[in-house]
Amino acid sequence: MKLNFPIFPDQASSMAWHVDALYLFLVLLTTFFSVLIAVLILYFAIKYRRRPGHVAQQIHGSTLLEIVWTVIPLGISMVIFVWGAALYYHMERPPSNALEIYGVGKQWMWKFQHPGGQREINTLHVPTGRDVKVTLISQDVIHSFFVPAFRVKQDVLPNRYVFTWFRPTVPGTYHLFCSQYCGTKHSGMVGSVIVMTPEDYANWLASGKAEGSLASLGEKAFQQYGCTTCHRPDSGARGPNLEGLYGRPVRLTDNRVVLADDNYIRESILEPNAKVVSGFQSIMPTFRGVVSEDEIMAITEYIKHLAPQESNPLNNRTTPTQIRDSEVPNIQQQNKEQNEQQQQQSPQGTRPANPSGKKP
């Protein structure tokens, strides 16, 4: 049997090297102190071993030494803290122009949607040399998206979007693990991340038969659920205009200001009364149990793509306090017309790139 015995993980992202540097620094530090302590203990044990004629020399302590071995470890640990924190801060802020991929974790599989509409199960194709941001959500319990070769990990929570990002550097196939224990087949919730050169990636995208881009799927859903009835750009609309909304601060009826990010949009679809935009009535029905996670992601992607109109004054406003004035439409009393007859959409047929994808 040929021994396959690696002791260091692949480095396949721009962050990998940085994380490894801190790791190796700490390995050296640990080795140094462990060996120091071990050698001292053994040396003392032998040098000062009990033997006839040898008497222990009583020493009470030394404040100077105590200060030294308090301050030095403190100094070292502050270096580690700052180093680790700097890495973390970098890893927690996705670049703005990243390629955005949506991922859903469920017992026990991963589903991914590319902006072009391609879907895959338990595999994720990404190009080298490009920042990739993965927006993640779970349909059931807590999972964790872990790609050792990229040194990224993010717990995937139900009911809330979380993000992680990386810039793949080396083409190849790498492990994708679920690292948060999620039930019986936790260890089966694995897949692979396939890093391709940009050309290969473009070919792969082209070969996948997408039903249309994710945003266009979102637009379809947006119309299908009747969102356009209220969310219109004109001044008489009963719902806020969504053009150019994404990524901007929004003032709410209780004067709080929140950022219109993925989580805000998701919450507004499922719990519309939680954060009502200032100047609007809370009349929107909840879509909980009506739209699927996939559809919410598509709708979010669609809203992101709703570019602000040049004429829209919203675009010129920067401070959150001013938004209200521009967005307040006349409130019209209208009968609510709901689309409750919208049947729950069954998730579209997925196109597993990996045929081994297990049934949920």
């Binding site: 802020r93 601060p249 929140v258 950022l259």
Partner: protein, 99 residues
């Protein structure tokens, strides 16, 4: 060990404390119906803290107790504050706008 002179409170003092507690309760109840904005819960809790302090100091004899007992209670409150503030430190900063 500790001073055990036992200058215990008298029924008269207990009665005064009791009346103060009743007044505090009525005040909490009354103020709740006046719109003071964000101050409503603040005042309600301030009254509650005052009432609790009275109970601890006199009904529970802390006013007359050793320093050790006083430290014990302070420790309890301190740890409770650790739990509340450090948990909230996550919840309240989660939605901070990233740069």
């Amino acid at each position: 060990m500790s001073d055990h002179s036992h200058s215990h409170p008298t029924p008269g003092l207990y009665l005064v404390i009791f009346i103060a507690l009743v007044i505090g309760t009525v005040a909490t109840w009354g103020i709740a119906f006046v719109d003071l904005g964000v101050w409503n819960p603040v005042i309600a809790l301030a009254i509650a803290v005052t009432k609790a302090t009275l109970v601890v100091l006199f009904f529970m004899h802390i006013y007359y107790s050793s320093k050790l007992t006083k430290i014990t209670i302070s420790a309890g409150i301190f740890w409770l504050m650790i739990m509340i503030t450090m948990s909230l430190s996550d919840y309240l900063t989660r939605t901070f706008l990233p740069q």
